[in-house]
């Protein structure tokens, strides 16, 4: 089964074993944006806990309320999380996020999509 969805900030591709989220270019993510991103993700997953590949290479900025929301309210139904990054900008965004928020799911950043998929599938 393959399903997709799109909102202002991201594109979602749902396969049988993985959810792929790609952030669109040029957006600054604030709290209402984060709420929409989480809402759409949860509606797609319908209660299924899944590994998530989150492509943040186009992100410009995620502000503090949005980071807090994504890390806490937005962490449900995630089995493992891999960020796809493009150093240096999105590298520091993911590093700060990982360094300041308590994670309860395995989370890592990768520059290569194949490495990210290997990580998600190994768990």
């Amino acid at each position: 089964m393959k399903k997709s969805h799109e909102n202002t900030y991201a594109i979602y591709l749902l396969t049988d074993d993985l959810l792929h989220i790609i952030y669109k270019k040029g957006h600054c993510i604030d709290l209402p944006a984060a709420q929409l991103i989480v809402k759409d993700r949860m509606q797609l997953q319908q209660g299924r806990k899944m590994p998530i590949l989150c492509d943040i290479r186009n992100l410009v900025q995620v502000n503090k309320p949005a980071r807090d929301y994504l890390a806490f309210e937005g962490s449900q139904w995630i089995k493992a999380l891999a960020f796809l990054i493009d150093p240096p900008v999105t590298d520091v965004i993911s590093a700060l996020y990982l360094g300041t928020q308590a994670q309860n799911v395995p989370t890592r950043s990768f520059t290569k999509e194949s490495d990210a998929l290997d990580f998600l599938r190994s768990l």
Partner: protein
């Protein structure tokens, strides 16, 4: 706007200087480049936000005597949106002189997103004789930093018959005296009256309390042991755990757990198909009735009202 490395370094230096002074309310404009300088600016913005959040929290919830300075940003506009009058501290915040602002349209000083928001809102504001609203706006300072805040906007009629006026008003908090010594300092003793004893926390105590915090949010469905047992488990004493947690997070361990359970439950109510009973159970509440009561206390509506 120039965008060479020299210019960008100067911006970063300016931002660091403001942070050193205790002004954590500025922000650097994000760049569309993906280079080391841009990554440094992004990092600085995020670190700045983290510090701001922790010091506001510390200031309001914990320390007994932290003096806070309030800085008011006020602008009086005419019905065309031209600045008529400014408070002195507005000029300090925007790093300019009164004549840089007075007589010019306020929209000139806004970022693009705020300009769009303002253009949309402005005609609606003027429709009523008097109105009050809150609008988030972001302004450019004259030194190239950004400053964003919810502004209280009041529209009123001038006594002299010169028509409608608009007052844009907001306040910022600064850790120290914000702009040198030339301005009146309004010191607030924000947490006067807290009676809890203050405990001395060593770095390892703070780490231990953070571990408790993380353990709670990562296992919300689990019940906590008694304070005594938890302290034993963490290799500390009950007193340090109890008051140390309050000192760091501004609330008790058990209240914190309930609050975090409710936050998670709210997301599940909004976006999942689980029944309210299941959600109560998943987030660690003993009964649906207790869940419903606690939820209503925090959010002002019952879980079933929210679901509808």
């Amino acid at each position: 706007m120039p965008n060479n490395d020299d210019f960008r370094v100067k911006r970063i230096q300016k931002m660091l200087l403001e942070m050193a002074r205790g002004n954590f309310f500025y922000r650097l404009e994000p760049s569309d480049r993906n280079d080391n300088m841009a990554s440094l600016a992004v990092m600085l913005n995020m670190v700045n936000e983290e510090i701001r959040a922790s010091f506001i929290h510390q200031g309001f919830a914990n320390t007994r005597n932290t003096p806070q300075c309030i800085i008011q940003l006020s602008l009086l506009l005419d019905s065309k949106g031209i600045v008529e009058m400014v408070a002195n501290s507005t000029c300090s915040l925007l790093s300019c002189l009164p004549h840089d602002l007075i007589g010019r349209p306020i929209i000139q000083f806004m970022t693009e997103v705020s300009q769009k928001r303002w253009v949309k809102k402005f005609p609606k504001l003027l429709k009523k004789e008097r109105t009050e609203t809150i609008l988030q706006l972001e302004l450019h300072t004259f030194e190239g930093l950004l400053i964003k805040k919810d502004f209280n906007i009041s529209v009123f009629q001038a006594f002299d018959g010169s028509g409608q006026k608009i007052l844009l008003d907001t306040v910022f908090f600064s850790k120290g005296a914000p702009f040198g010594t030339g301005l009146p300092k309004k010191n607030l003793k924000v947490t006067k009256g807290i009676k809890e004893p203050k405990v001395m926390l060593r770095p390892q105590d703070i780490q231990m309390i953070r571990d408790v915090h993380d353990m709670i949010i990562n296992h919300l469905e689990r019940d906590l042991p008694t304070l005594k047992d938890l302290a034993l488990q963490m290799g500390t004493n009950e007193y340090k755990l109890k008051y140390g947690f309050k000192q760091l997070y501004g609330t008790t361990i058990f209240r914190f757990q309930t609050q975090e359970r409710l936050r998670k439950a709210r997301t599940l109510i909004e976006h999942s198909g689980h029944s309210l009973k299941e959600i109560a159970h998943m987030t660690g509440f003993k009964s649906a009735a207790h869940f419903s009561r606690a939820f209503r206390e925090k959010y002002g509506q019952s879980p079933s009202d929210l679901r509808e």
